[in-house]
């Protein structure tokens, strides 16, 4: 039995977090580190959030995904549309136009999904077929069933569309009331907060919809399918100006307000770490991990594997969306090439490097990754910058050879560690004790 620490584990963790926050804030305020380097540190925090999301999907849930960059991009562009509309020369002619439409559309989609779930549209076909086949011929029954299912789905979709229009009216009233009530500076911050949250939820919603069919695939096939998803997002972004001109497609989206500060990025990171840690250290989280460990045993123990995969994938994408939103407002410029498949490997490299199934390792590796890539740019002589992408893969190879399970393996630090169970004296029934004793005797013999 491990020894119990006198002070609770969250105390040193909180102190450490506070220290990091104050140190970076102080250093960038006093210009001890240049603006460029404080941007690199903020970028490291942003990357951590996205990588933590992927670690939930791949490290904890065991689903090999290459689609993280797609969700990152969705979060980035979605949130940029919202804040760009609000800050200056509203592209939709209305400061809160994009925000309200995005929010209404999301609620509308959720309502449609709920309707499909509650009305059992999936089972309708099967049950109706069973009833009808008693009186009708097989082909007649199946034709009628298909028609009924299609009509029912179409009705729900139409209802969802009109619900979205209604919801837009409601959200528009609410948001304009909210933003007129707030002073200018607070309104800006609230708008950014809403943009971040919406960036996350759009990505999560898309992940849920994409995950429904994809998560049925086995691990490698799932990886390929998510790669396909990332490529689709990339292609869509390159041609995005055909639908929304202000996204500018392959020319790159400019004029996004630079809202992301160290405070925002650090705050978002802390919230994401708390959410992920609380999720992992709960019965839900254990069920998620059991899917990685042994899917068949998990099913036999009553774990709904499909549900756990969907939860992990959706939460992972939520984190990616939030990270994307922060990224968009860090540099103020978005280009599809920042979200191509090569970039898509970055979070994967980070979580393998840090340790699959270790939150601490992921954060360490993200910071290390960002600092290494930028640090090499400074260290290497002029004209040799491209050698960074030779040096860091070599470093990666060395680490993988020396520590195949990553820097941390599945170990955690401080508050992120699993809490120790209570120590108790448990009375054991006499017959059970008897069985145990003969057993121990048997082992010695």
């Amino acid at each position: 039995m491990k020894k119990r620490a006198a002070i609770p584990s969250w105390v040193p963790t909180l102190l450490f977090a506070a220290l990091v926050f104050i140190a970076v804030q102080y250093a960038s305020d006093r210009e001890i580190i240049s603006r460029y380097w404080s941007q690199v540190i903020v970028f490291a925090a942003v990357t951590s959030i996205s990588a933590l999301g992927l670690n939930l999907i791949y490290g904890f849930n065991g689903q090999f995904s290459l689609g993280q960059v797609g969700f990152y991009a969705i979060g980035a562009y979605g949130s940029a549309l919202i804040t760009k509309d609000f800050s200056k020369n509203p592209w939709s002619g209305d400061p809160i136009g994009a925000l309200c439409w995005i929010m209404a559309a999301q609620i509308g989609i959720v309502l449609v999904l709920l309707a499909f779930q509650l009305l059992h549209i999936g089972d309708l076909n099967k049950s109706l077929r069973k009833t009808l086949s008693r009186t009708l011929k097989t082909h007649e029954a199946s034709m009628i069933c298909t028609l009924v299912t299609l009509v029912a789905s179409a009705l729900i979709l139409a209802a969802g569309y009109y619900a979205t229009l209604g919801l837009h009216w409601v959200t528009y009233r609410l948001m304009s009331a909210l933003f007129t009530a707030l002073p200018a500076n607070a309104a800006k911050n609230v708008n950014f907060l809403l943009a971040i949250l919406n960036g996350g939820t759009i990505a999560a919603l898309v992940a849920y919809l994409v995950g429904l069919p994809l998560l049925r695939l086995g691990s490698d096939y799932f990886g390929i399918a998510t790669l396909g998803f990332a490529i689709m997002v990339y292609t869509a972004l390159q041609n995005s100006d055909l639908v929304i001109p202000t996204m500018k497609g392959a020319r790159g989206m400019v004029g996004i307000p630079l809202y992301t500060t160290w405070g925002w990025a650090f705050g978002a990171l802390v919230v994401c770490i708390i959410v992920l840690r609380n999720l992992i250290r709960s019965s839900q989280g254990r069920a998620i991990i059991s899917v990685r460990e042994d899917e068949i045993a998990a099913r036999a123990m009553g774990v709904d594997v499909t549900r756990q995969k969907a939860v992990a994938f959706t939460f992972g994408a939520l984190f990616a969306g939030i990270a994307g939103a922060l990224y968009a407002h860090l540099y103020g410029f978005l280009h599809p090439s920042s979200f191509n498949t090569i970039k898509g490997f970055d979070p994967l490299i980070i979580i393998v490097f840090g340790g699959l199934g270790s939150m601490t390792g992921t954060i360490m590796a993200s910071v290390g990754f960002a600092l290494l890539i930028e640090g090499l740019r400074v260290v290497l002589p002029q004209g040799f910058e491209d050698w960074r992408f030779v040096i860091y893969p070599i470093l990666l190879l060395i680490v993988m050879l020396l520590r195949p399970s990553g820097l941390m393996g599945t170990k955690e630090w401080g508050w992120l560690r699993a809490p120790l169970p209570p120590e108790r004296d448990i009375p054991v029934p006499q017959r059970a004790l008897a069985a145990q004793q003969t057993h121990n005797h048997g082992e010695e013999a």
Partner: protein
């Protein structure tokens, strides 16, 4: 087969009727009927490849039967998802131990408790509402199970670091945490020495009495089957060839033939054959 149907009364917890499993051209189980009465300790034996584990996989929902019915607790369960069947009260262990290897002993049991956790995702993330009380309760109940199985001192060790016998016991503990009505044990004594086997037999009897369970077990070691089972069903080539009390089975000509071939049709007991 007449004796098989005399058992199928209204108290049967599990009732299998004309169950068939077809893998391409292979008929692993064909027209199998089997009924397991409540609170019984029932054995399922047969030579290698007889289809015993396939039957288990169908009962626990991992395979969908090609045809036939599985009725558990007055409900048709064939075609249901494994987790639904588990929620109805069926738990199992595996022939080749399937623990969550990189998790602690305690977590292995707590995962099986998931469906009884009693708090939702939001409560887990915010740590509000029922979370604290339920999580403590859940942990304590898992520890109680471990104590019964003599594993309480091992609760923080990784499952893969346990010795073989303890892994077997942990798997049974984990299955019990599902709070099943029916426990399926797939070759629990495989790879155990005589002493360990003796303990296991005591343990199975204890579990059966203590938790008011119905147990269906597959086993090759005749000592175990003959020692603890009240009823035994013998399978060969996907079909039931005999069933009855251990005494009946030991002198059944069809069983001896299945294990030893035609020339031994009479005079040897399967006990000798298997040892």
């Amino acid at each position: 087969m007449a004796s098989a149907h005399s058992l199928a009364d209204s108290t049967a917890l599990l009732d299998i009727r004309d169950l068939t499993m077809q893998f391409g051209g292979l008929r692993a189980v064909s027209d199998l009927s089997l009924s397991v009465p409540s609170y019984g300790l029932h054995g399922l034996i047969g030579p290698n490849g007889a289809g015993k584990t396939t039957v288990f996989n169908m009962i626990s929902g991992l395979y969908v039967p090609s045809s036939g019915e599985i009725v558990f607790d007055d409900r048709m369960i064939n075609g249901m998802a494994p987790q639904q069947i588990s929620h109805l009260g069926v738990a199992r262990t595996f022939q080749n131990i399937r623990l969550f290897k990189d998790l602690t002993v305690l977590d292995n049991v707590r995962i099986a408790y998931h469906q009884h956790a009693g708090y939702n995702l939001i409560e887990a993330i915010t740590r509000l509402g029922r979370f604290r009380r339920q999580e403590r309760l859940l942990t304590e109940q898992a520890q109680d199970f471990l104590a019964v199985f003599g594993l309480q001192d091992r609760q923080l060790e990784l499952a893969k670091n346990l010795p073989y016998g303890e892994q077997r016991r942990l798997e049974i503990a984990r299955a019990l945490a599902v709070r099943p009505k029916l426990l399926l044990l797939d070759e629990p004594a495989a790879g155990m020495n005589p002493n360990e086997t003796e303990t296991l037999m005591q343990l199975i009897r204890f579990v059966h009495d203590e938790f008011n369970l119905t147990i269906l077990l597959i086993e090759h070691q005749m000592r175990v089957v003959m020692g603890i089972c009240e009823w035994i069903t013998v399978m060969d080539f996907g079909q039931v060839i005999a069933r009855g009390t251990p005494d009946d089975i030991q002198s059944n000509a069809a069983v001896i033939e299945a294990y030893l071939g035609k020339q031994f049709g009479k005079g040897l007991t399967p006990d000798v054959a298997a040892s």
